[in-house]
Symmetry: C2
Subunit: 476 residues, 2 copies
């Protein structure tokens, strides 16, 4: 694996190790010819996710199974040969969770992309792991139903990847995260069994909740081959409230005002001028503004209740010192602002390698945490753009470094770790929704008492006794 | 342990085994004098929960710790002596999960009954496990907040017990179950460590979700000593809709109508004439009716949206053939009907030993399942009263036998198992919210594929390597 040092680069992968032909032969025997991907260019394409700073190796092989039985066959081959297995969804992860490790087989689930069933009465969908988040949402919407979890990567990330990382998103401030919607899973286990866990009924407490345990386990406890998600009825249209603020801290105070008001917004997003400018330079959405920071609030209660909530959010923005705050009367403008929110990460990536934070702090600590981020940026001379699911206290400071500037990378790495430490000191966590992967392993150790890390290891060993599932990720 | 045969009786407990004095001496040394309960009468009181048909033994000792450190000391003493530990909340369980096993120490958490903190801004409460559900709800309400999970046992059951069984209740049809509200736990582990798992932030994905795993684990993976629960803002007042039906199946069809309407009720409860009469005979609430079955619907959307929902529910009841359906204009009457719902179980218990089912089936299977229950009751000549969280498909047929009638008990036991089998055949589960405990162990095996049972065992062994935590419960 390449080193995570500031001089590591995406293309300077280390030697992938000897081509252990027996595994490749066994895979070729077990799979249809089109399911086995070979050739260094193709292998490179599947060797890492979007965590640009995380180390990775070239995999021994990449497989693109089309059925759960093919996934099981691959895991069984890998068990026989002691070969590590790295499951992979859309490759949009931001922590290196899908990065290839030396000598591994990457199982890309992208070809298992069918929405198998949508049950209108029971309100669930059964999907294969390669279904794109937005595709599931569209399929549900056709039936008058709604799948809430909406990570910014929704147009590109898969439900399987969302399950692996317990993905969040914009609406989870009101509607919860992926784990809140996963009813059941079909999984290939660390011992090569193909099993179903969970349920399709509204309730059920038979046995341990392995479903909740597997969600967010980043491919280290099983390879998910099918997912049953709970759906909600379609909701009323949202109303958008926009606030301009002269500082990050003022915007952070406005978040506290909204929470104290008792309104639960359906979105409460923060984005700073750097994010807006980067998107505007790329997509020409005409969004640039003199405001240093924008808060985007949404509410979705029906009828007059929604009107009252929108007015409350507007008043909270104003009370916290917004330089401008108004309910958006132009749906296109509101949509453009939320598009900017989704496009901010790829827009900033165009400017240079981005190191993405994902800290989550208590709500009352949001202004303090934002101030710490500014202070860290100034002290280390690092460019930090700020995005946040502010209503959850889930902040995404994005550390942008000029391409090829090793000194800037070293400073950014130091800032990254200081931001982790600050979040932990404020009672927060190093990862709110992106997962531990490779980049937050140190953060996990810093945040978690050793006896709990020992429990993680014990559970991992119980379900992956041969240590072949995504080794080196989350906890060693 | 007494046998679960039809001739078993609550008072004919078997020999508790030798009094292994070293354990008692070690406990006495580790605890304040008032925390160690002795004397057979006292031990008997702590030897079982309300699952009248489940076997139990007299414990070796009962401890009533006041601090987490005392719980830890007890677990460490028990580890040293290889003594089983049985954690216990309010003793209102219905599956035998808290029943004493031979030679065990029962840890009653009832004296740890403090609400430690309610955080208005972050919307969580930190409580000790012995806090009664209704007490937490009242403490939250004083702050304008709401703890939704509301099992019928809310006036008597503890939050610790609710966590152990992942308790449901009336409002979970809209608001989810206990697991959906537990953010974090302090736990004494199977190796005697005192640890914290989970978080207090809105989101967090660092490490595996041990919190979700521990919820519903019935004291087999750790002894919970503190619980952090998420709270919601207080909600608008509910409106109640009452429907009378001439048959169980007609009421079941009405449930389907409500679900198809797109309305998510905040309660959708079924109770039959036998339940109403039993409550009326006991409490004289004046509820008796000629209707064979009553559905109680509630909605809680704000303002005009709530009015529209209530009207929709009424129309659904009427469309499914209700003999009478109306929005309740008398809040006292509505409250009395929901009281009857909560009191039905203790009211029926006055008539003889009750064997409580807790099956949960897909919503479209509710009418079929209700018909099967009637058919099983008739065929086995067993008196079965019906209660249900109908909107969840979670049915509680209550098998009532005359005291001392062994033949009736044998018939009830056969009916009990047939109802399990019918629920599984319809895609359901043997336990929606009461837990496996002792009574549903066979049901768990029938419902769960062997490879998944093996995963349960592996996880259990990982977290309780010495096998001292509530042995014999859930899975052996």
């Amino acid at each position: 694996m390449t080193s995570p040092s500031p001089t590591a680069d995406r293309l300077t992968t280390s030697d992938p190790g000897p081509r252990t032909e027996p595994v490749l032969q066994a895979l070729a025997a077990a799979l249809p010819v089109e399911a086995l991907v070979t050739g260094d260019a193709a292998l490179e394409r599947y060797s890492h996710d979007e965590a640009e700073w995380a180390p990775y190796a070239l995999p021994l092989a990449v497989v693109r199974p089309r059925t759960a039985e093919q996934v099981q066959a691959v895991v069984r081959v890998c068990l026989e040969h002691g070969t590590p297995v790295v499951p992979r969804g859309g490759g949009t992860g931001l922590s290196g969770g899908a990065n290839a490790v030396p000598g591994c087989v990457v199982i890309s689930l992208e070809a298992m992309d069918a929405v198998l069933e949508i049950d209108l009465l029971e309100r669930y969908a059964v999907v294969q792991p390669g279904v794109i988040n937005d595709q599931l949402r569209a399929a549900a919407a056709e039936q008058g139903l709604w799948y809430p979890p909406d990570p910014a990567s929704a147009p590109w990330s898969t439900i399987g990847g969302n399950v692996a990382t317990n993905a969040g998103g914009v609406c989870c401030v009101k509607y919860g995260v992926t784990r809140d919607y996963v009813l059941g899973l079909q999984v290939v286990t660390g011992t090569g069994e193909l099993v179903r866990v969970g349920r399709r009924t509204a309730k059920g407490v038979t046995g341990y909740d392995l479903t909740a345990l597997l969600v967010g386990s980043e491919g280290t406890l099983g390879v998910v081959t099918e997912i049953t998600v709970r759906l909600r009825p379609a909701r009323p249209p949202e109303q958008t409230v926009v606030g301009f603020f002269s500082s990050l801290v003022a915007a952070g105070e406005a978040v506290g005002e909204v929470v104290r008001s008792g309104v639960t917004p359906s979105a409460l997003e923060l984005l700073d001028q750097q994010c807006l400018r980067a998107v505007d330079d790329w997509k020409q959405l005409g969004l640039s503004t003199d405001a240093a920071v924008i808060l985007l609030g949404r509410v979705d209660s029906p009828g007059a209740a929604g009107d009252a909530e929108a007015e409350t959010v507007r008043a909270c923005f104003a009370a916290a010192g917004a330089t401008w705050a108004a309910r958006s009367t132009d749906p296109d403008e509101a949509e453009a602002l939320f598009s900017a929110r989704r496009l901010a990460y790829p827009a900033l990536e165009r400017l240079g390698p981005v190191l993405t934070e994902d800290v989550c702090v208590p709500l009352r600590a949001v202004p303090t945490m934002l101030a710490r981020i500014e202070e860290v940026a100034a002290r280390h001379d690092v460019r930090i753009a700020n995005l946040a699911h502010a209503g959850d206290g889930n902040l995404h400071p994005l550390l942008v470094t000029p391409p090829g500037d090793d000194a800037a990378r070293a400073r950014a790495q130091a800032a990254f770790e200081e931001i982790h430490a600050a979040a932990i000191a404020l009672g927060g966590t190093v990862t709110g929704e992106h997962g531990v992967g490779l980049l937050k392993r140190g953060g996990l150790q810093a945040e978690t008492e050793p006896a709990v890390v020992a429990m993680y290891r014990a559970v991992r060993h119980a379900l992956d006794p041969h240590g072949i599932l995504n080794p080196g990720k989350v906890v060693e």
